[in-house]
Symmetry: C2
Subunit: 198 residues, 2 copies
């Protein structure tokens, strides 16, 4: 005997999500059965709405429910700076800081020969077009501190620098509050390399 | 700036699931955006169907899409044995073994004074009624090997024994393939207590 079809199908849907194995999927599916019907219907509706109502901003590539997105539509921001990130979550992380006041550009990933992601798979051509159309003076490359993120940063830097626009990269070093003792070698190396005079 | 409303709502729905925090919920929600629309619609439909089409078997309390459930409707099983479990997943685990051929009774939980779960919150009265109506000769109590599961087993045993029906409990001891060195004290104690002559 197997699970009744409706629950087997729900478990199957959950296992398609990243990081959710068969056991967790079964636990989640049974939890759904115990939830109030209104909440389950809302969950289903939220899935559909998220998929149907969200789109990518035609300027920066950020996920948005209006085009251009709220940030690109905001005229009060600093037009001279574009911060380049891998995906929308990075935009949200920067925005939570409430420190950065320029615009963004979302690449939609990083260069990864291993996964077959080349420059044409990322939003690089639209970025170059923005740089020639807009009055940008600095591009801050904020790809992740992974090897792919680094390689993408170097690639973009070589592509942009000839146009005379300043290209910068977020600083690497020790996390605030972290112990040197536990820092990995690469982080420590970068922390020494990027040391500042006090 | 916050996430656009459709994604914020979807993240919120995911955080209502057990064991899913804010970060995992965001990761899952963004993954949904990348999924093919047909799969997302299917996921939503599976949520609704699981909630709408599943019910509890009026005899054993198992989750089912037909009433009585497939097991209770199966006349070829052994009518003299009822195996009592905490929830539907335990039924599935037993059925996967393809070893047990009696019927089941799903309690829907365990006695837990801490969580305010008393005998009236579990399917105990229906079990007692089944025992008086049906030709049952043995009740196997297969609640989990936790303190609540044990207490529930003792409670049921005291309730059923006066009727003359045999009450048994699944054996406790070392997991097959496990090291004595790593067994916890209670398990080792139970393994000694339940030792068998070779």
């Amino acid at each position: 005997m197997q699970y009744p079809a409706p629950i087997a199908k729900l478990i199957n849907s959950f296992t398609k999500l990243p990081g959710i194995g068969a056991k967790t999927a079964a636990r989640l599916a049974f939890y759904i059965l115990e939830m109030p019907e209104a909440e389950v219907l809302e969950f289903a509706q939220n899935l559909i709405n998220a998929k149907r109502d969200l789109t990518y901003c035609s300027i920066c590539g950020n996920i948005t429910d209006q085009d251009p997105c709220a940030i690109c539509s905001d005229d009060t921001r600093d037009k001279e700076i574009i911060l380049v990130v891998e995906d929308t979550r990075d935009v949200m992380a920067m925005e939570r800081l409430q420190e950065y006041r320029g615009y963004y550009h979302v690449l939609g990933g990083v260069l990864s020969p291993m996964e077959g992601t080349g420059p044409d798979d990322l939003s690089i051509a639209p970025l170059i077009k923005r740089l020639s159309d807009e009055e940008v003076k600095e591009v801050i490359i904020a790809t992740n501190a992974t090897s792919e993120g680094e390689a993408t940063a170097v690639y973009l830097s070589r592509l942009i620098k000839p146009s005379g626009i300043k290209v910068t990269r977020l600083a690497h070093g020790l996390s605030v509050g972290s112990d040197i003792e536990y820092a990995d070698e690469m982080t420590l190396f970068r922390a020494i390399e990027g040391r500042r005079e006090l």
